[in-house]
Amino acid sequence: MGKKLRISSKTECDALIIGAGGAGLRFGVELLEHKPGLKIVAVTKVGHPQKSHTNTAQGGLAAVDPEDPFDDPVYHMFDTWKGSDCSADQNIIKKIVESAWEQVIWLENHGMHFSRNEEGRLSKRTFGGHTVRFGEASAFRAIYEADRTGKGIMDTLWFEALKGGISFLNQSVATELLFKGNRCAGAVIFNQKNGKFVTVLSKVTVLATGGSGQLYRVTTNCRQNTGDGVGLTLRAGLPVMDPEAVQFHPTGIVGPGILASETLRSVGGILRNKDLEPFMERYAPAMKELAPRDLVARAIENEIREGRGVVNPDHKIEHVWIDLRHLSDYVHDVQIPEVSGFFKKFVNLNPKKDLCPVRPSNHYHMGGIPTDEFGRVMADKRRPIDSLFAVGECASASFHGFNRLGTNSLLELITMGKFAGQKALEYLDQGVESPEGKPGEKTFGLFSQFLEANGKESVFTLRRELQSLMTEKVGIYRRASGLEEAMERIRELRERAIHAPIENKSLLMNQELILRWELENLLWLAFATARAALERKESRGAHFREDYPERRDEYHHHTLVRMERFGRLEISSRPIDMSLYNKKGAHWERFGILERKY
């Protein structure tokens, strides 16, 4: 204690990437393709970029092959729009969908090991919510690398980053954004490995810190997905968009929460309740198991709530079954080996013979740092911040609206990473700026509080309590009374957190210290999420209010939340872009406010 925290050095670079997963590295590689030799620094919280969460995506990425006689980009746009519960921005949908195939080819040409068909071309398969002819039949649109598509993308991107000479600050986090007027000047980085804080000044900065699954008790997310980028943005006084739009994947494996991909359902897996009834027929007569995620998740949760779930004796968690027993050995061994193997490894079951326990798990945050179509971070409804970008799950452009379709997130991260990189080129002619204020001041305020706390609370217990609270009150089903209670309790948790001591006071690879910092980020995001969910008195996509079960047109907008000081929140809105509808091009009538039935 009494240790004086200080900035130990200052470096300058062309581009600073905060979060070196798929989106962040796609951004960096795009810069290098146009200007080889740029000095790019990529900060990652994990031990090496290959360990990023992108790596765990399984199913595939959606892209319409221009040579496909049955599919068409407009169908993909329609599915995304409908899937988003009419809440995605249509300019973003158009831009991403239209460049999807080109980006798939880019990945393939750079060495990704996509699965192939007999002609040696890219294999395609169906995926939940993706259709041809506006919902008539399932589309073969998911391009994949077995059931490790995310790994294929992550590998291709870190290989290219390595080849292009991006330098990495591994096991490091950004603790503070630096500004000069309306321009981002860089960030303060804390390197856990040497315990040092450094100032990195950059011409452009991109936030690509990923999701925030650790906000919930059961999540498919990695251990480090704690909403750090959103926390950073909120504390910088910038808005966050649609924090209440949180996706629960219908099929997390009980109890570690590991994702059992949609692929299991697209190859023919059937969901059954305790009476072994294939219950999806009751909820989505046409699409059944392939209906969008929020519908399937609510269906399962409803089966459980109405007493048709099964309780796992080891984890004491209620679940339903996914039945894979009727699938051929070929499907098990060739099409879904990794996912099928998860059941063997993590719950000691054989999916060829046994029913497998699954339940909805937190999976994806559609909301995040608001950006325009170039990935530029927005200071408000209209004005972007100079040289600050956000891409990937921490950002919201918004391509997914209030519900994301499977295979659309990998597509989003490579396309938005590329678009943002392209735009960032325009900012490279300027020099670096000296930031206003004292870099590190905010960071040291927080960190000395963490290191000097000496009460009786436990950081671990507080995190667990927050996760349970969010799962119960701000989860799949929400209502006003629960959300109000949640806000009250999040305030209390934050008060208690201030007194949670850290036993080890070292700055060197001190995971207690990082956990405490993560808890702070989680609390900020939790409060913003609960408050925004309370404000939205309707149900839309993944945001489901029991007290307002219908979607209401008066809420046809994005939520913008600003919270520079904890608990003091300003809510405003951003209109949803309806340009496909308003421009009256081909099939424009498909892009109005639609009823969402599957």
Partner: protein, 245 residues
């Protein structure tokens, strides 16, 4: 079902502030289908918040949580307590960091250091062959892909490198070799000469003594030694003569 076990874990610790190492024992009760990462978390929550360990995805897809458990290199996230008790026939476990890089603290090693060897083997496509179909994908037949697809599943957990008897003699290591062998077999790679040089370099393939420890411990079940053997023979067509052109 729902059986729980009284475990004794003896964990190697390292305090970088004092440059001091020691072994610390923890007694803890854990349910049968908890994983070792869950057990570490339980130790943090109930016994000792200062114990540092590393993980990321916690479902055997990222290879961050590799440790030595009773001397065997494995991923802590996929070892269930009940399986560990069955496999090792004991409830006492010695846990130490994987010896492929300097320890940062306790069970956390400097992965960046370990990865340097993979970086040296240039896992990317060095130089692409010309694509006959401009603007489209390369045609790669599923048979060709089959020859090396297994090796692309490597997650660089370094379990193989940890047990490799040649690793300490400058050998780049089984996983680093694998990354290069994949590109030798990948029809899109145009720079085969440099690859061969790399594979047959001073720190390359011939350091391998074919102990096959790599294949034995690979959490992904990749037969690493098989690929190394093919490469030693210069057989990058995957050892299936019938399919050679």
């Amino acid at each position: 079902m729902a059986q729980s076990y009284k475990l004794r874990l003896e964990i190697s610790r390292w305090d970088p502030d004092r440059s001091k190492g020691w072994v610390q024992g923890y007694e803890i009760e854990a349910g049968g289908i908890l994983r070792f990462t869950d057990v570490f978390r339980k130790i943090n929550e109930e016994l000792d918040p200062t114990l540092a360990w590393n993980s990321s995805c916690e479902h055997a897809q990222c290879g961050t949580c590799s440790v030595l458990i009773n001397g065997r290199a494995m991923l802590a996230c996929e070892l269930l307590v009940e399986n560990a008790v069955a496999q090792f026939g004991t409830t006492r476990f010695k846990i130490s960091p994987i010896g492929v890089a300097p320890v940062v603290r306790d069970l956390v090693v400097d992965l960046e250091h370990a990865y340097e060897r993979v970086h040296r083997s240039k896992p990317y496509v060095i130089k692409r062959v010309e694509n006959p179909l401009k603007g489209g994908e390369y045609r790669v037949s599923p048979r060709t892909l089959d020859r090396y697809v297994e090796a692309t599943r490597c997650i660089n957990c370094f379990c193989c490198a940890a047990v490799c008897i040649s690793s300490n003699k400058g050998f780049l290591g089984p996983n680093a070799m694998l990354a290069s062998i994949v590109r030798m077999m990948d029809p899109r790679e145009g720079e085969k000469k440099e690859r061969l040089k790399l594979l047959y370099s001073e720190r390359g393939l011939y350091r391998c003594h074919t102990s096959k420890g790599c294949s034995h411990v690979c959490p992904k079940g990749i037969d690493v030694a098989h690929f190394l053997a093919l490469a030693k023979q210069g057989d990058f067509q995957g050892g299936r003569p019938a399919e050679r052109r």
